[in-house]
Every structure is written in structure tokens, then in C-alpha cells.
């Protein structure tokens, strides 16, 4: 029963979690690794996940923390250049322009602000849920959120993107 529940959860949440990890700054390949590690952590303590008030917020929290761990390990083991890859030159199509503009805008946020933006606008978590997912007080989410929006509103990539 437990295994079936775990398998169903993984199958249902996998795509969204991988995509969230990409929005949080991973390459697709890294994202799959990170989500895999996060889900294993969840499954090891599945009882805790199952009884959490907000199961998805709990899993998102594990995801965010696993990603932070991965970045920490990577920062000790890789050359800095690998952490700041150059963005490809836009190829002229609107879709790629938009995607690049978004990637650039997100990359200018701090990791904490970026996490709040992704949790709020991609995973559609409320402020309270985001606070639980990030393990910080709601007030902290609120301030990160407002700083992130201010930064995005003033971002040149985003300005041209909005006016285009």
C-alpha cells in the first residue's frame, strides 16, 4: 500500500517538480538529479510526508533544500565558470526571446528571491505555503517577494519583454 502510494505520488509530481527545479536554476539534467534526490529523501520518511499538513509544501521544501545542498557541493567542486554559463544569443523567434528574457531576469534575482517567485507563480503556493516550503516566516517571504517583484519590474530584459 505504502509503495503504491509512493509510486503514484512520484509519477504524478515528477514533471512539475523537474520543471520547477529548472525554473529554480538547474539545467534539465541537473533538475532530474535534484528531484530524484529530493523524492528519495521524502520516501525514506514517507510517514512524515503523508502526515504533513501540506504534503506538497513539505515536498517543495525538501526540493529547495536539496537544490541548495547541490549548489553548495558544486561550488566546492567545480570551476566558477561552470556556474555562470553564457546565455545563447537570441535566435530571433519570439518564443526563444521570451524564454531568454525570463531566464535572464530570474538569473538576476538572488536564489532566495527566485525561489519565492517560482513557488508563488509557477507552483501557485500562497504566502503561507511558500513560507512553510522555504522554512522561513511568512514575513520573510513577503519581503523577498516584494524585492523580487521590484527587481523584475526594473529589469531591462523584462521591460522590453513586456513592451514587446
Amino acid at each position: 500500500m505504502r509503495e503504491q502510494e509512493v509510486e503514484e505520488y512520484a509519477a504524478a509530481r515528477w514533471p512539475r517538480l523537474v520543471r520547477a527545479a529548472v525554473l529554480l536554476g538547474c539545467t534539465p539534467h541537473e533538475a532530474e538529479d535534484v528531484v530524484q534526490s529530493a523524492l528519495v529523501r521524502c520516501f525514506v520518511h514517507w510517514k512524515r510526508v503523508r502526515t504533513a499538513d501540506d504534503r506538497d509544501a513539505y515536498v517543495h521544501r525538501i526540493l529547495v533544500n536539496t537544490l541548495a545542498d547541490t549548489h553548495r557541493r558544486r561550488s566546492r567542486s567545480e570551476m566558477p565558470a561552470a556556474l555562470v554559463p553564457d546565455r545563447p544569443v537570441p535566435d530571433g523567434t519570439g518564443a526563444v526571446d521570451d524564454r531568454d528574457a525570463l531566464d535572464r531576469s530570474l538569473a538576476r534575482l538572488t536564489p532566495e528571491q527566485r525561489a519565492v517567485v517560482v513557488l508563488r507563480y509557477y507552483l501557485h503556493l500562497s504566502e503561507q505555503q511558500a513560507a512553510r516550503a522555504l522554512g522561513v516566516p511568512p514575513g520573510t517571504v513577503k519581503s523577498r517577494h516584494s524585492r523580487a517583484l521590484a527587481a523584475l519590474a526594473a529589469d531591462p530584459s523584462l521591460v522590453s519583454w513586456r513592451s514587446g
Binding site: A10, L23, V44, D103, Y121
Partner: protein, 282 residues
């Protein structure tokens, strides 16, 4: 929702949609989780491989001999004592906790010459000497964050934490091993000490878990000679979401070590809203 927020929502969804995602590797995930469950402390054990000197951090606990005189000097115990640690009992700590047998003494407010396994939830100025002997283990609460050069970043249940490697030294002829597990969220450390050997420290640390629904009953943490009152305790407990019951008019009463009884004992991991009773010791 503002225009900007609306745009963000749409663009994030569009950006996510173009991310190629294969099917979930469900079998691999389940298999990996099963392996992890069988080896719950693999991360902790890996961190322990880093050989770093703790310096004088652990010296304080031994301190002066207890009033009843120093412990007799028995033979030094074997490092690889195979005696299994009786791991089933109650949790000690708060958000980050470890498990210890229920039989352990809780010596938070009356410490002094503790002769057996003990949880010490008083720190700072308060001195809690333990009479070390083979088989004696202790958990002491630390309020000083381990230094960056000493502690290793780890995760417990996916949550960030710090821990130091197990270091063994000799005090009064005993080999005593210890390591600190630090919760950066609550700024509280659990120092695990064992006169049995490093494996016992690892076993206790292996029971580490993070439970958002738990908080630690406070002790007179950070007590530094300034009068710590029952009112201070009430404030610390209520800050953690606990309810405090104490005799009326006790707020200004000075907290006297050994003359104050707290139930549940300081250091116990309990749910917010738990009633903590404080009364004079008989």
C-alpha cells in the same frame, strides 16, 4: 493580481512547458529509498570522515570533579565496544532532535555530579559535571555555533544542519568521544558525548530527525551570571509556542539551579502548545 504577476505566471508556465521531462524513474526512486532506510546515517557517517580537531570545545563539560569526589579510575574502555546502544525512547532537542532511552536522567536544573546517562539542558554559566565511566553517555545543549572550519554542512531529512566529526579525548583517564549536531534554524546544538566510544556517538546521531511540529522545552540557556528569573523562562518558553504554568507572583523569582523543577524537562522535544509546569523543587 497585477499585470506583472499575471505576466510572470504565464511566462513561467510557458517556460516550464518547453522543458523536456521523461517519465519518473519510479523503480529507481523506490529502490534508492529502501537502501537509504537501511542505512539512515550514511550522510552523517560520511561527514565524520573529515578529521578536524575540535580544540577546546569539549573540555568544559568535565570541569571540576563533582562534590562527592572524583570518579575512580577504571580501565580505559575499548574503542570498538560492540555493546548495542538501546535506541528506543524519547526524543531530545526540538525541531532537530535525537532519540535517547527514556531511562536517562534529565538533569537540566539540578545538575551536579551526574553519575549516569543524562540529558543536560543547561548551558552557559551553569556547570554540569558528569562522572564519566564506561557506558555513560550524555546529550548536552550547546548555544555556540560550531566554527565554519570545524563543522560540516549536512542534511537531516533534507534540512540543512551542521555537524562536527566525532573526536575522542581523555578526561580523568577515560576516553570520551563527542560530536555536535547544530540546527541553524533554531540556533541550538546537541552535543552527543559518550565514554563508550565513537560508534555510540554515531548511533545516537543516526537517530537525528527534523520535525517541524516539535520545539524544545528551554533551559536556562545563555545564563551568564545575570539573574535568570522564572519570568525569563516563561518568555523563552512562550516564544517557542509553549504554555507555562507556574505559581502566581513567581515572575521575578531567581532561577536557582537545583531548586527548580520543570516538567516536561528542559531539552524534551514537545509539540507547541504543550503545558510546561515550573515549581520549586522539594
Amino acid at each position: 493580481m497585477t499585470d506583472l504577476e499575471q505576466l510572470l505566471t504565464e511566462r513561467l508556465a510557458a517556460r516550464a512547458d518547453v522543458v523536456p521531462v521523461g517519465p519518473a524513474p519510479v523503480d529507481d526512486l523506490v529502490r534508492a529509498a529502501a537502501v537509504r532506510r537501511r542505512r539512515p546515517y550514511v550522510v552523517l557517517a560520511a561527514a565524520a570522515a573529515v578529521a578536524v580537531v575540535l580544540g577546546g570545545l569539549v573540555v568544559g563539560l568535565s570541569g571540576p570533579a563533582p562534590e562527592s569526589g572524583p570518579a575512580p579510575a577504571p580501565p580505559v574502555p575499548s574503542v570498538s565496544d560492540p555493546t548495542p546502544f538501546p535506541m528506543s525512547g524519547s526524543r531530545v532537542g526540538g525541531r532537530l532532535s535525537v532519540e535517547v532511552p527514556r531511562s536517562w536522567t534529565r538533569s537540566a536544573t539540578g545538575c551536579g555530579g551526574v553519575a549516569g546517562d543524562v540529558v543536560i539542558a543547561a548551558t552557559g554559566f551553569v556547570h554540569c559535571p558528569v562522572r564519566w565511566a564506561p557506558g555513560v553517555e550524555a546529550i548536552r545543549f550547546d548555544v555556540e555555533r560550531p566554527g565554519a572550519g570545524v563543522a560540516e554542512s549536512i542534511t537531516v531529512d533534507g534540512e540543512p544542519a551542521l555537524r562536527t566529526p566525532v573526536r575522542c579525548d581523555r578526561e580523568l583517564g577515560f576516553r570520551r568521544c563527542s560530536a555536535v549536531l547544530w540546527d541553524p534554524v533554531q540556533d541550538l546544538g546537541l552535543r552527543v558525548l559518550s565514554a563508550t566510544g565513537p560508534d555510540t556517538v554515531e548511533e545516537i546521531l543516526a537517530s537525528a530527525a527534523v520535525g517541524d511540529a516539535l520545539v524544545s522545552v528551554p533551559g536556562p540557556f545563555g545564563f551568564s551570571g545575570v539573574a535568570y528569573t522564572w519570568g525569563h523562562f516563561r518568555q523563552a518558553a512562550e516564544d517557542r509556542g509553549l504554555r507555562v504554568r507556574m505559581p502566581a507572583g513567581s515572575e521575578d523569582r531567581v532561577w536557582e539551579i537545583g531548586r527548580t523543577t520543570v516538567s516536561p524537562a528542559p531539552g524534551a522535544a514537545v509539540s507547541p502548545g504543550t503545558v510546561v509546569r515550573v515549581r520549586p523543587s522539594r
